[in-house]
């Protein structure tokens, strides 16, 4: 039976229907739009009752040609494209892009900017993990936890709003720093968040961590060994759940992460329960880091929110209107005439679901010669179909939720 199915599944047509009257298998189209898949994912599955015999993933439904568009945009216009990769944690993508260009231009950020960036990146990580973990719970039937913790994503979005005016696709920061300083309301909201979120997260954990139903649904499901995970180039919480302590923030610190005291949580079996626990623990570590950053900010001179690099940092509008130099720099930056070295640079940041890499080639033109995004969702997702073999359909659904695949990043 298996050979028959495999022959069917490996040919070059996108959709498979098993027309063999002798076959007892059912072809099931899971997606592209299905309420249980949280995004545009299509998997054509061959089912034997409740069990998946084989599957093929079809992706690319929301492909928007970002790499091609990026070849036609000056550097600062590429930031909004990065928003739309992993839109659950856009600030990390924005900062990753800014840091890539800053690496190319050899700009050093003031410490205060680094700490502000750590705050917003860790808030983004918390919001990303909130979505993923509450949705695992939701898919195992625990609606309460979903509704309960999800309000803190709203609080994080309110902080974003205070900092940059946007909520989901933030476009926060500039090459060379931030567009404006965090205001007092933003700091007040961050402090409020730091006080309230740990209480809620603790309650969230006490509802699920030792919950018999939750453990039965998640522990021992979709186990992945570290060897498999490394072989399939997994990164992020998925890799750490298998027991590999690889975190870009720790191994190649950017944005002054080396100044922070934090742990890299790891799992043991790489199953869904471990992924859930790793993400929860990362939220605690993120809270720790934001607290440390708030402390460190007190020692830094106030009011510094960008590096002193007028030739690369987009000046404020009132400067542009009243100051000759600012007008010139504004014009040059907007037209992509900045004096960037002709070079290649790869910069990686720890995104919400893994190593988000930017491979930028600059040939001295107005736009990148080539920009490639190393997108963790895309690379993590390729194991999904082969993992699902032999799994119950309901387990495969939770497995997809626990992999935190974001359609925008998957399809770029």
């Amino acid at each position: 039976m298996n050979t028959l199915v495999d022959k069917h599944m490996s040919h070059n047509q996108p959709v498979y229907t098993d027309n063999d009257p002798q076959s007892e298998l059912v072809t099931l189209n899971l997606g592209p739009t299905h309420p249980a898949t949280h995004g545009v994912f299509q998997n054509v599955l061959q089912m034997d009752g409740e069990r998946i015999v084989s599957g093929v993933s079809t992706i690319g439904y929301i492909h928007r040609a970002f790499e091609k568009i990026a070849e036609h945009r000056p550097f600062y216009q590429i930031t909004p494209l990065t928003d739309r990769l992993n839109y659950c944690s856009s600030p990390i993508n924005n900062m990753g892009w800014h840091m890539t260009v800053e690496k190319l231009l050899n700009i050093q950020m003031p410490k205060r900017v680094d700490y502000l960036r750590v705050i917003i990146m860790e808030l983004a990580r918390i919001s990303d993990h909130i979505i993923c973990n509450t949705i695992i719970a939701q898919d195992t039937g625990a609606t309460t936890t979903f509704l309960y913790l999800f309000q803190f994503r709203e609080h994080i979005y309110e902080i974003y709003e205070e900092i940059c005016g946007a909520r989901l696709t933030t476009n926060v920061g500039r090459i060379g720093g931030f567009e404006r300083d965090f205001n007092d309301i933003a700091f007040a909201k961050i402090n409020k968040f730091l006080k309230e979120f740990p209480v809620a997260l603790k309650e969230f954990e006490s509802l699920l961590n030792r919950n018999r139903i939750f453990i039965d649904r998640t522990a021992g499901v979709a186990c992945v060994t570290p060897e498999q995970a490394l072989d399939f180039s997994w990164t992020g919480p998925l890799l750490r759940a298998t027991g590999v302590d690889y975190d870009v923030r720790m191994s190649e610190p950017y944005s002054s992460y080396q100044d922070f005291d934090f742990d890299v949580p790891v799992g043991t079996s790489g199953d869904i329960y471990d992924r859930y626990r790793v993400r929860n623990e990362e939220m605690w570590q993120s809270v720790r880091m934001i607290e440390q950053a708030m402390e460190k900010l007190k020692k830094e001179p106030a009011g510094i929110f960008h590096a002193d690099v007028p030739e690369f940092y987009l000046p404020a509008k009132e400067e542009v209107y009243n100051n000759m130099e600012a007008l010139i720099y504004h014009f040059k930056i907007v037209m992509g005439e900045i004096d960037a070295p002709k070079a290649e640079v790869y910069h990686a940041v720890e995104g919400g679901n893994g190593e988000l890499g930017f491979y930028l080639i600059n040939d001295g033109g107005r736009t990148p010669y080539r920009l490639h995004f190393r997108r963790p969702s895309f690379i993590n997702y390729q194991m999904y179909a082969s993992m699902s073999k032999g799994m119950l359909l309901s387990d495969a659904i939770i497995n997809m939720s626990s992999m935190n695949i974001i359609a925008g990043e998957l399809d770029a």
Binding site: I59, H72, G336, A343, Y346, G357, T367
Partner: protein, 167 residues
Amino acid sequence: MAKVTNQEVIALLDEKFGNKITDVNEPYGLLTFETTKDVIIEVLKFLKENTVTDFNFLTDITAVHYPEKKHGIAVVYHLHSMVKGIRVRIKVYIDEQHPTIPTATSVWNGANWMERETYDFFGVKFEGHPDLRRILNMDDLGVFPMLKQYPLEDPNRVDKKDEYFGR
């Protein structure tokens, strides 16, 4: 764990592959070199299995199109040694008219979709790949859109010529 430097890696490669390793440099500290497509898989295997270098992780595979060069498509591999904390970038220039290169899926399973993406956008045919078909674009697209000859905007529009925008 003992760290390894770029010079040590390149010395090992020179000893093993000799003149097949060319154009070594270190932009922003990242060891970069070129090699040829007949030894690329051996180079990848060597770097992965050698206990000194220990490049256990394939970060990324992509390609770059240089229409003015003789071998116009560069396939770019990024490897990472998590244990030794070092990265390496390997480039293989291949002929634009016949873009073929052996598949790296024999070394890492993770190369599968990365190579499919590279094929989808650049038309690079990875020989021996188990399932080489388009991944993000539609199956009957007919062209490989990241090649430089394909413009971003509709070429028939007179108001959106790239040169008006300095591109």
